[in-house]
């Protein structure tokens, strides 16, 4: 459970201090105020103080208005003028299910305190000033902010008793489901009423972020099996890569001695998706084979005659050259020349392969440098924003034009259309760097292999040249001289024998390694095939309850775009849906609001009972789409009813007070009325939370 007890906004201007504290009741709260009085600022302050502004994709900066970022408009002697803001902050006081109360304060603007620092008091520092002692400084929006002890989102998830799961990303890796992906189910900002589902936070490259968030908040069991399946698939992918690398090494070793390996399949049993529970691949039959007289023979069967040949050559000693071009010597010379021609042709082909591989490697290096430079520049931009605030270069910090206060987004984006913000760009570039590095690694392996084969073939060609030269010398030599060809043959046979022995020893080690990998792959596949398939019954029942609750609430609010029974929960995205239609554009704007509120409240009710939903629901101006008064009353009624057992609701509205009093359920509501006042009022007192 999470309850928002109070929120405070403070601004120090050149003309004095301004501020406002809004305290909330434990159940159903309505924050009322005329238009442009600052209701939205209160919701945005909660989002900012909790470090959740990254859920608002459109703007990566502080989502707060000019009263906290640049100047406060005030009227003196009927003359309106602006007071420049020197420093400003917002703070929230939170309470969890075991009564732990925490106050978090975050500066919007300050000469020393950066926006990524959150000052935390372990008590009700907003509602009880005696608690405002020395705070702890926690960090935000830096690596580890949701996992390290000094990370603010770690503190927040501890308060919520959330253990954030790992979820799959578009790049195939997994990453933590960050709180700012989940919070669109808890807080609906004013700009997000155009969609029937919660905001989709795409910055972390998480695949189906809305589905993952709903699964987490509803504690669905299917995703546990899915996550395990994803982990096992990842392990299998790693094992497949290791198998491919080991097999490639085996081929290279065999290639060096001009042989091939048989009995090692391309893929181990169980590595392919169609496999069920296979026996591990057995490698007893794996062996090195060599081409002898146009026939592939096992290395062992080649080694025995080779040893005999060496023994015979030693026993015979060196023969003397026969007179007048001995036909046997001429035959041996022709054979050696023919072999040399074949090897030379193969060397030429290998050389071409190698050149192509090296060119590809150079191209990948250039691409990698380019991507890394671009990523470094984007990372630098984060630091530049911080440095900009230190010298009061405001357009660097707040990203607004210093003259007209408009956002500088269009200046950067030009006519590109929607663009990624800096953090999203860094994430994208990191993914691209990672992909390019993997491609480079593979290209490097390929070049290394081609280079090894090239070297081996060159060596073989050198040996053959030596033999050819020796026999040529024999043909030209005077009679009775020792045969150079015989000596060369003896040396070549011995070298070949030693080389084969070394290769066989190396291959035996590789075969052992492959055997171990085969065992692991089969074990992973067996576990995968035993994981439950389909959606567990408990999940189906829970989602049906959400859908039922949503339809019931829709009926109460006179949803009239079509039959309420057609509105379902989509089994793929877990968003509200109507089969074959896009709800965001296919129903009226007011019906989109009706569906959204009903959906989020149903998720809240079911998630609070069976899942991890903290019960908090904040809705900023749901009535902006001109929902009929009676229907708005129905929405207020069911929200008030849910709040009595499922958690706190805060809703903002500009509905006139008299009308609101008639609409609200009498006993359950806590109304905070700003009236016609601006949110920030002069408040000269020193605040206990000021540094």
């Amino acid at each position: 459970m999470l309850r928002l007890r109070a929120v405070r906004l403070r601004a120090h201007t050149i003309g004095g201090r301004f501020g406002r504290t809004v305290a909330f009741g434990p159940q159903f709260n309505v924050l009322r105020g005329d238009n442009s009085r600052g209701k939205t600022q209160v919701v945005q302050a909660v989002i900012y103080a909790l470090g959740m502004e990254r859920m608002l994709q459109a703007r990566a900066n502080a989502p707060l208005g000019s009263a906290l970022t640049s100047e406060i408009r005030t009227t003196d002697d009927e003359q309106a003028h602006g007071l420049a803001v020197v420093s400003s902050w917002v703070a929230v006081e939170l309470e969890n299910s075991v009564g732990r109360i925490t106050t978090a304060q975050r500066y919007v603007r300050h000469e020393r305190l950066q926006p990524n620092i959150v000052r935390v008091w372990d008590g009700p520092a907003l509602t009880d000033p005696s608690w405002a002692g020395a705070p702890d400084d926690l960090f935000l929006h830096l690596p580890g902010s949701a996992s390290r002890e000094l990370g603010f989102h770690k503190l927040l998830t501890d308060m919520l008793e959330w253990s954030l799961p790992e979820v799959p990303t578009y790049t195939g890796e997994s990453r933590t489901l960050y709180p700012d992906v989940l919070f669109p189910f808890l807080i609906v900002d004013q700009q997000s009423w155009g969609s029937a589902g919660p905001r989709r936070v795409g910055r972390y490259q998480i695949r189906d972020p809305i589905r993952r968030s709903a699964e987490f908040l509803l504690s669905l069991e299917g995703p546990v099996a899915d996550r395990r399946r994803a982990e096992l698939d990842q392990t299998l992918a790693t094992l497949r890569t290791q198998w491919a690398a080991a097999r490639s090494a085996v081929d290279t070793l065999a290639g060096v001695v001009g042989g091939r390996v048989s009995g090692v399949p391309q893929h181990a049993a169980g590595a392919q998706a169609r496999a069920t529970s296979p026996e591990p691949t057995r490698l007893e039959a794996a062996e090195l084979q060599l081409l002898e007289r146009d026939e592939w023979l096992s290395a062992e069967s080649v080694l025995t005659p080779l040893a005999e040949q060496i023994a015979r050559a030693h026993a015979a000693g060196q023969r003397h050259v026969a007179a007048d071009q001995d036909p046997e010597t001429v035959r041996q010379l022709d054979e050696a020349r023919s072999q040399l021609a074949e090897v030379a042709a193969a060397v030429l082909l290998l050389e071409q392969d190698l050149s192509l591989g090296e060119a590809q490697l150079a191209a990948l290096d250039r691409r990698l440098n380019l991507l890394q430079e671009e990523r470094d520049r984007n990372v630098d931009i984060r630091t530049l924003v911080r440095l900009g605030s230190q010298v009061a270069a405001f357009h660097l910090t707040d990203h607004n034009c210093p003259t007209c206060r408009q956002s500088l987004d269009p200046v950067e984006a030009g006519d590109l259309g929607p663009v990624l913000d800096v953090d999203e760009t860094v994430a994208l570039l990191n993914a691209q760097v990672s992909t390019t590095q993997k491609m480079r690694q593979r290209a490097q392996e390929s070049v290394t292999q081609a280079s090894n084969s090239y070297a081996a073939m060159q060596r073989r060609a050198d040996q053959l040249r030596t033999t050819v030269r020796a026999f040529e010398a024999d043909v030209m030599a005077p009679p009775e001289a020792l045969s150079a060809g015989d000596i060369a043959t003896q040396v070549t046979l011995q070298l070949r024998y030693d080389e084969l022995q070394r290769t066989l020893a190396a291959l035996r080690e590789r075969f052992d390694e492959l055997g171990g990998l085969a065992q692991q792959i089969a074990a992973v596949r067996a576990e995968l095939s035993h994981l439950p398939a389909g959606t567990p019954e408990t999940d189906t029942a829970r989602l049906s309850t959400v859908a039922l609750g949503m339809r019931q609430k829709l009926s109460e609010t006179r949803f009239d775009s079509y039959d309420v029974s057609a509105v379902e929960i989509d089994q793929d995205s877990l968003r509200p849906t109507r089969e074959g239609y896009d709800l965001d554009i296919d129903v009226s704007a007011s019906d989109v609001v009706r569906i959204k509120v009903a959906y989020l409240d149903s998720i809240r009710v079911v998630g609070q009972q069976h899942g991890r939903h903290p019960g908090l629901l904040i809705l900023d101006e749901p009535r902006q789409q001109d929902i009929d008064v009676d229907d708005f009353a129905a929405i207020l009624n069911y929200l008030a009813s849910s709040s009595s057992y499922a958690g706190q609701t805060i809703i903002t509205t500009a509905t006139p007070r008299e009308q609101l009093d008639q609409l609200l359920p009498s006993t359950l509501s806590h109304v905070i009325d700003l009236g016609q006042e601006r949110l920030l009022q002069p408040d000269p007192r020193t605040d206990p939370l000021d540094p």
């Binding site: 799959p168 169609r274 931009i381 530049l384 900009g388 009061a392 660097l396 259309g417």
Partner: protein
């Protein structure tokens, strides 16, 4: 609709169908019930178009110039030179005299004007010399010191500019050989 084998990350059923159709060797008709939705994906903006990067770069470049001031034409050329490894290499060659006698060494940075406008309004840079030159203000010099204090920050740009020193309007005219600048 053809059944698709389940993968680790459950796909939207239409996504799975589209992938299956794409990988199929046969030419088959697209099922009429298939719901294909095209969404506009956000695009990446190059860092050199980001206002924060550009403003910092203007300040960094000017801080390397003699008296922290430069002619607009020279600022355009140096800003262009910092753009990529290729432009740095080309400019480095000009700087060291390796160029054809008739090669034009003037370059434009299209985003410079708006960057300067923002920097001027924010008090980092001020116009000088009847508007043909710009110079760093006290605040701009302060930011330049902060940039220098972070060695990792804009490291490639700093290394490039460091190799050009002494950098001034006069040295640019001398090295790039265009006295009419």
């Amino acid at each position: 609709m053809t059944e698709i084998s389940s993968s680790a990350v459950p796909m939207h059923r239409d996504e799975a169908t589209v992938l299956h159709l794409a990988s199929s060797a046969e030419v088959v008709a697209v099922p009429s019930e298939l719901d294909i939705v095209f969404r506009m994906q956000p695009k990446q903006v190059e860092a050199r178009h980001r206002v924060a990067y550009r403003t910092a770069l203007v300040v960094l470049v000017l801080s390397h110039f003699n008296r922290r001031a430069a002619k607009l034409t020279n600022l355009h050329t140096v800003m262009w030179a910092t753009r990529s490894a290729r432009t740095r290499r080309v400019f480095g060659a000009w700087w060291n005299g390796r160029r054809f006698y008739n090669a034009s060494t003037e370059r434009l940075d299209p985003d410079l004007q708006i960057t300067l406008n923002l920097a001027i309004v924010d008090g980092l840079v001020a116009p000088a010399g009847e508007g043909r030159r710009v110079q760093l203000t006290k605040k701009g010099i302060e930011l330049a010191h902060l940039l220098d204090g972070e060695p990792e920050l804009l490291a490639i740009e700093k290394k490039f500019l460091g190799a050009l020193e002494p950098l001034s309007d006069a040295s640019m005219d001398r090295r790039l050989g265009e006295v009419q600048r």
